[in-house]
Symmetry: C2
Subunit: 552 residues, 2 copies
């Protein structure tokens, strides 16, 4: 390796951008699995087969069975024929879909009842698909008056069971509210319905030289309304900041049918409490977001992606510090993947990886700027530094968009392939950056000692891996399994949350609470805070009909 | 002018950074008035003299007299000796300052009763200066139980009368809570007490190669807690975004004494409603912010400032678009000042301005980046473009920090000198950028037709001027006057708010509501929104003791 590093003089680094590529910093190789955008599968078929999975064809277990401690709230009414008639009259038959009525499989309501991870399944009998804010208002007002519980649903790409029913809650799907309302090219302010798919929004903006300030693996399916409702973080947060800063306005409907008209297109508006912020990350528990106004940055003409192998997590930290220092305003992503994720990716996809050999850690860096020459110069200076200082062991730099997408696939493809063997325990945590990876090692040690990890079918656990948004100190601790077993879960939880609590971390960095983390909020929020939150919930949703059994 | 522009070849622009400076793009001249930092005066002396003002020495009129429609809320108790004894015991005599007791002028409570603009004056008899969150908690609990109304006060640099009492509300000054609690150089996360002065925080960060993501004229006096409570916008928002995105955590005390422990130092934390957002811009009406956690960007080693003269507001818009396109990720400020502000600045300060001649409009551009050469190259390409395309008429580029500060003083010095003749009607508005300046012209026309504007003392109004944060579509419409006259005010209000409402603007972009704009919130928010806000106010402050007579 040292010769490899020694060969990295300024000249060879510079020449990496030419047609002939030095061995040590060559262009990205062809990797053949699907790139980025749609890599996080959307549960589309009724029996919930996970793309690429070899085994699971059996039905998904009901959430109510899996979590027997959750009881149906007896205050809620059961759906009556009269209720159904009201909704059919309001929306038309094709937008008020009742279970078992249609013979057309595509209209089946089962996909609305379960999630793409095959972990959650509800018992809903009715899916409503409003086409306007007014329709959403009428639906909620009626449900509130008749004590009918509801679940708002966007692209249903969530990871915590937040967007599917637990019992017979009516699903309100936002898929028909998918109009882009306006875009101002001078200010970059974009206004659209909640049901617009993130990738559709981003493509629309791309044609107009802008980008959506949020990007994530599920972009091909997820809705921008759902992104806002769950305060999605994703891949661009490091550069463009959180939705709390970028969302300028929200139109939402409260459970009693009131419409919150706060769809401001102003960068600054200090006229009273910023109530829309409660809906950002509110997970559909106090109302339904029907439209969003968001400020979008200009699209950078120069985008570079580099992918490195590193000896240790400590080296990854050093690379991050160097990137912040030297790439500064052009750094747009700094992602970390451990060697195990890359090995599993290679195994499942069967494709050639960008780097030869195996490294304990990998990082992906993206730069976005307005001047290709300037950015390349900055990136080359950075590369020279990290290679010469032996911070990174090997690296590859993309030369065009296709190669960039291929490198991104090494990061974005992880989520999908981890489900290959049957299922995944997923933990999405914020931790002080220095402690980020120690949790992965500790978890692996714990499950190994308990005898759960092994190569044959008698062991439920495949491996314990870690990756995530290093730039945001956000770790995705993932445990791919052959099957979900209560004993495994008990070994992980609440131990993992206690670990995070000791480090003053967050048990949910960007995925939210949903069903999964509702019982564990106490590890990240004290009683006083939870008490204040419950006051807000009771204020806006006194009947508790909005997305019950979840959140707080 | 055309010869001037014609002379601007690439070479002359490039040479502007050399020791000899071309006439058309020369280094900033010496301007002798105080630079930036402390230009927005803090009302320090008991009779409220405005720095630089020649005439006003009379006492400030009581707010209660000026706004006779505001009545003291009879639910509130009057301060008793028993109350005073409690506070003296809790805080000690020097931190529970009673009117007329101390002979030391510096301990006088009058500065806490009135604002630096000389527009608001309260009747408080007691100023409390807690030193800890626990003390704040005990104070509020006691006040809440005894129905004593309070006003939280930071640096008292506000512009809408939000931080001084109207009647006899007890002032809770945060000036003794001024400790910096922690700073992490890897993540850039800074945690400090609410009473830390913004400039102190920024200087502390500067020594550690970071900057506070907010900057404003009053930085020498204002507190970071007050900045957060008023959701201050300022000069860096264009680049670093709003406090809603940058503030990661808040510690606050609710009226009932409960402490909201949300002082997170995590970039991402999706565990329940983001309640701290209600305190950002809540203007001290639901609790008192006692500490803030905020993410701070690295300080850019390369900072350039340019100052231009332009023919029209349309030219300023073109310059803004060009700057967004060409300066992109390094653009850190784009400010607009009309020719009248610069003329008044010259008149009052008597100093030489950076550009010869007079221009109808001026813009100030700042770039901040990590590479001096790259930034200069980008800036020069931009300058060539705007000069060759005749978008700007004349310009000057700073060559060092001192010159940058001098150019900034042409923008930051405005606020102070406008008070020279006696007072200023100040409006802080968000508008679609194309309409931004039309309001200034319309207001001038309106006041001219009413006969209020003139050179001699018989006319109350000096002029109508406009400046502001063009990058955020935020206009400061200012009307310097010899004296405040009800008839003038009636001519401006509510007409100005109606004008803004027609354009879907905001009647308060960054200054907040306070006393001044409370009656006008309806021009920017509908009844439903105001209703929802009142629900929040009642939820957290059911007795209404927090900063009454203001906000919503």
């Amino acid at each position: 390796m040292s010769t490899r590093l020694a060969a990295l003089t300024r000249r060879t680094v510079l020449s990496s951008r030419s047609a002939t590529c030095p061995k040590t910093l060559r262009p990205a190789v062809q990797v053949r699995w699907a790139t980025s955008a749609t890599s996080e599968p959307h549960q589309q078929d009724a029996n919930g087969t996970v793309k690429g999975a070899s085994t699971p064809t059996k039905r998904i277990e009901y959430t109510s069975k899996k979590y027997p401690e959750i009881k149906r709230d007896s205050r809620f009414a059961e759906l009556s024929q009269e209720n159904v008639n009201y909704f059919k009259e309001l929306l038309g038959s094709e937008s008020a879909v009742l279970d078992g009525v249609s013979k057309d499989a595509s209209e089946d309501i089962e996909p609305f009842n379960s999630d793409w991870m095959r972990k959650f399944r509800g018992h809903t009998k009715l899916v409503l698909k409003p086409s306007s804010t007014d329709e959403v208002s009428k639906i909620l007002k009626y449900c509130n008056e008749n004590m009918l519980a509801v679940v708002p649903q966007g692209g249903n790409t969530g990871l915590v069971g937040g967007s599917v029913p637990v019992f017979d809650e009516i699903v309100i799907s936002m898929q028909k509210m998918n109009n882009i309302r306006s875009f101002d090219e001078v200010s970059g302010i974009f206004v659209a319905d909640a049901g617009v798919i993130l990738e559709v929004a981003d493509n629309y903006l791309a044609e107009r030289n802008h980008i959506f300030p949020l990007d994530l693996g599920a972009k091909g399916s997820c809705h921008i309304g759902g992104n806002v409702a769950t305060n999605a973080g994703g891949l661009r947060l490091l550069r463009y900041g959180s939705l709390h800063g970028n969302v300028l306005g929200i139109e939402a409907v409260l459970p009693d049918g009131r419409i919150m008209n706060d769809l401001s297109t102003l960068r600054k508006n200090n006229t009273g409490y910023d109530l829309k912020q409660l809906f950002i990350g509110g997970e559909g528990t106090i109302g339904i977001i029907t439209a969003v106004s968001i400020i979008c940055p200009r699209r950078s003409p120069a985008v570079n992606v580099a992918y490195f192998g590193l000896e240790s997590f400590d080296h990854a930290q050093k690379a991050f510090r160097a990137a912040k220092n030297q790439l500064s305003e052009i750094l747009s992503a700094f992602e970390m993947m451990d060697g195990r994720t890359q090995k599993l990716l290679k195994t499942v996809s069967g494709k050639k990886m960008p780097l030869e050999g195996e490294h304990p850690f990998y990082c992906l860096i993206e730069t976005s700027g307005s001047n290709t020459d300037h950015d390349s110069e900055k990136l080359q200076a950075f590369l020279e530094h990290v290679m010469e200082a032996e911070i990174v062991s090997d690296g590859v730099l993309s030369e065009n968009q296709t190669q960039s997408a291929e490198l991104w696939a090494c990061r974005e493809g992880i989520t999908e392939i981890l489900g290959y063997w049957g299922g995944v325990y997923k933990y999405d945590l914020s931790l002080p950056i220095a402690d980020l990876y120690a949790l992965v090692d500790d978890t692996r040690e714990r499950l190994t000692q308990a005898g759960f990890i092994g190569d044959d079918d008698s062991h439920p656990v495949i491996d314990v891996v870690g990756y995530g948004h290093m730039g945001d100190a956000n770790l995705h601790l993932n445990i791919p399994v052959r099957r979900f077993e209560k004993e495994v879960e008990k070994t992980i939880e609440p131990w993992v949350y206690e670990w995070v609590q000791k480090k003053n971390g967050s048990i949910s960095a960007e995925h939210g609470l949903g069903v999964t983390k509702k019982p564990y909020i106490g590890y990240s929020r004290d009683e006083g805070m939870v008490g204040m939150m419950k006051q807000v919930k009771n204020l806006y949703d006194p009947n508790g009909i909005m997305n019950p059994y979840k959140y707080i």
